[in-house]
Amino acid sequence: MRLQNNKNLNQTKKIGFTFDGKKYYGFEGDTLASALLSNGVHLFGRSFKYHRPRGIISAGCEEPNGIVQLEINEFTEPNRRATEVVLYEGLVAKSQNRWPNLNYDLGAINDLLSPFFPAGFYYKTFMWPPKFWKSYEYFIRRAAGLGHAPKKDDPHKYEHYHYHCDTLVIGGGVSGLYAAKIAAAKNLKVLLVEQEDQLGGAILSSNDHENKINANSQTEWKNTILDELNNLENVKIITSTTLFAYMHYNYLLAIQDLQPNKGNDKKNSIRQIVWKIRAKKVILATGSIERPLTFNNNDRPGIMLANSASKYLNGYGVNLGKKIVIFTNNDSAYQTAIDFHHQKIDITAVVDVRNNIEGDLPKIVKKLGIKIYSGSIISNTTGRRKIKTAHIKKINNNNVEVINCDLLCMSGGWSPTVHLFTQSRGKLKFRDEDSCFVPDQAYQKTISIGACNGTFDLKNILKETYTSVNDFLNEEDNILDGELYDAEKINIGKQENAWIVNKENISKSKMFVDFQNDVTAKDIKTALSEGFRSIEHVKRYTTNGMATDQGKTSNVNALGIISELTGQDISHLGTTTFRLPYTPVTFGAMAGRFVKEFFDVERKTPMHSWHVDNNALFEDVGQWKRSWYYPKNNESMDDAVNREVKATRDSLGILDASTLGKIDLKGRDVGEFLNRIYTNAWSKLAVGKCRYGIMLGDDGMVIDDGVTTRLGEHHYLMTTTTGNAASVMSKLEDWLQTEWPDLEVYLTSVTEQFGTISLNGPNSRKIVELLFPDQDFSSVSFPHMSFKNLEIDKVSCRVMRISFTGEICYEINIPASYALSLWNKCIQLGKDFNITPYGTEAMHVLRAEKGYIIVGQETDGSVTPVDLDMNWIVSKKKYDFIGKRALVRSDTVKEDRKQLVGILTVDPSIVLEEGSQLVEVETSLPMPMVGHITSSYYSPNLGRSIALALVKSGTKKKGVKLIVPTLNKSVEVEITNPVFIDPQNERLLA
């Protein structure tokens, strides 16, 4: 039975759900926590370390105990706070951290053993012997579980939104709604973000009898303001949205929970949205969080924060108990007593640590005839699965009065929610009178108003919001927008610190500070006695504040306890860092749409469909999908690659080379530019000629290579390696813009504008003669390293005679949309010559047979062109080029640098592993290494294995024998020339 006059429920709509396999009912508007509490379920889970029975202590995101495993199978989600889950039909939840079930949990033995589990227990116990940690860890993690992750892919979708606004208001309570109204009146674009599914903040937990605003109840006031805001086009309000990060330049992240489980279409709905907000100004109205009191056995189910009890009572009509005791050190908990009175539920007693109780609220409570124990504490409680008794005693007096109770409401004061303020790099100050950190100096364009600014009473909140929001938002004028609201003045009595309720008993008691990580006051004392002083160290040693609730209810209490035990001022202790995210954020939300095929871009060549149709396997090169090899009739990879390599050397191979980077260079000074960025000379390159170039960094190391063709007087086409196209383009732009703005050179990336077909082999000329019947392809009129602009079916294409195989080769660059048709034509015409498509693997073998390097394989960022035995390409005449100076540094001229050589195994059948180390003699470990294998293949044309390697002083060591130690045996090898086929270039130039 629910109490009447609740604010949040729609009691006409009943909702069924299951908890731990049992069916319950709640109403629309309920949270999982309120629905379970109203069904009399107070036991929600077992604690992390001692497996103690735990119940709900709060009604919001600060909840440390009420965490559940929500839903099942692929929809399951661990560690959801029951206080935040809005109830929907068919909801399934399970308690966590118990075995075999919640009522009888074997792990609870830990509670009896707790004297043996002090702070740092795991560090102290399981450190030796170190290699055993792995086996310990398995059992520890199992025992201290926090729910389980789903085993299947998450079927939900997640979205990222970008939003820009003038004013972002965080928090939809009294001050937040009021601030939004003022900002809206200034005609600003306003975004209001509220973490709960309903607006109102503290209004939701208040009764409507008192604390009126301008003679209206708070609910009426809220509804009037909402009516106004909802009709404004410049105001957007999003609920169920938690702002979890406040970063530079008012960039903030919020996560909106759309709770698709509510509908039937679970699979295709968007579950959460991450809002990426850039705001000109930010108004923090994030409220405050009530603190528990630290007394013996303060963690039993049925012990709850006072204001949260009010919320369950006023908001959800939950009948929490019949024998209610309130334990407090401040006035605010008296409001809870008044709230219960309005619902005609009597309070058994209010226990107040203060002797002088003078505020207006306690006076009302006194008048109601409720017994107040002043200068008293609760020294202990009993009740295993729910609180049964509270032990009340006067401070400084050992007489204990045991009273029965089934609900204990506690209040240890309030902590303003300053998390976002400190994330924004604002500075805090500590306020002694009510022991809380409040915002001091802001760093960004932000203000804090209301409870998060340490302003707790309604009258002052309204006044502060009116003046400071107007002041904050006004740029030039001083117009006060929004009407001024007022509330009754309430005198608040002084709060008294009670960080540890009875200090003498600390070592013998269970006074929980961090409920989620099971950290007690004793643990903090232990940490201090073991020499930990800094709050950051105490936190990590005890794990206080390190659970998924990030210490929202425990951090300030821990500071207070340290302060009390060490006699240090809290303001000197400082706080631990309030890190983002404010509340846990799912991985799915962070990933958004960038999963599976959208994780990274896939680039495909114009001929991709042909490769797929012809059984190609693909290799990722950068973002490109390149054909790796084309197996025929269940061929093995080795067989396929050997066939492709052999066919290319013997007759004709065809390669899709479209992925090579292509940069179009135009302008008066391109020749000079090429002179500066390549090691060789470019001034004399004639129109229609191609030249190979090596590009260095200014440290002298090879960064890229490729062929550049002079298409016209002031027009060149540069090719780069597939993987480096973008970085080379960027680097060239960098030089042009920042070092040589005087050069007239325009760079355009044209990689994707052209498809490139590379025809290789002795019969390649026959194909191009068929493709372009009017042209003379003889080596006299179209020699190696030259270019012609030709037409095929009225489509202009650029044909280069260049080669990466050592065979006669024509590369045809054709506008991308025609590339597939030309490819098909080549295949058709090549049938008589056994035209064989080959992939990247055969390409590697072919070039290695010829001793051609691949940047990134033979080079690793520490290799100069001299190391590659390519002195011929390094100009001696040029005064300067990028990398030239570094080539004469003392280190780069050393004779024992690693240099490129060929390697032949003495046993021709052994193909070495790439990356193998080379040694001169085998010694005991560690062996001095003289080099490593960079490329290694079986060469079908030579009928043996070949390899390239970088070896110390290698160029001078041709003929020397080395050893490659491998796992099972040592392989004898010989250093050779790196060119294995056609060293005289007779095939190439034929």
Binding site: H248, Y249, Y251, S571, G574, E733, D734, K884
Partner: protein, 115 residues
């Protein structure tokens, strides 16, 4: 995330930009005349200032133009943005003051005080 005012495009998110390190390091005009140490100085040595630093930034996912940014590396405050070739503006910034070298406000290492 920073909000960077590209001199060609206006204010854009940091994710559109790439930082190119310290600015105003000119490539020497006479490399062959330099000693190994001088060359290494140009190539490798950077000031890595805690405080006001002049940096190169590239609007790599925008106009692709390079420009300079004056940024306080301790607070991430951007004090000026100017084009390549322009002289660095004379600026004063919230320099590190505390013993640990952090500025009092804005560094993230916030301190607390008593009211």
């Amino acid at each position: 995330m920073l909000l960077i005012n590209c001199p060609y495009c206006g204010e854009r998110e940091q994710e559109e930009f790439t930082c190119g390190g310290e600015a105003h390091i000119e490539r020497p005009k006479n490399p062959p005349d330099l000693s190994d140490d001088q060359w290494a100085d140009y190539l490798f040595l950077r000031q890595n200032i805690k405080g006001l630093q002049y940096e190169r930034w590239n609007h790599s996912f925008g106009c692709r133009q390079w420009f300079n940014v004056a940024r306080n590396t301790a607070t991430d405050e951007i004090l000026a943005v100017y084009k390549i070739g322009e002289k660095p503006p004379q600026l004063e910034s919230n320099e590190p003051l505390t013993p640990s070298g952090e500025p009092r406000i804005g560094s993230g290492n916030f301190s607390t005080s008593k009211e």
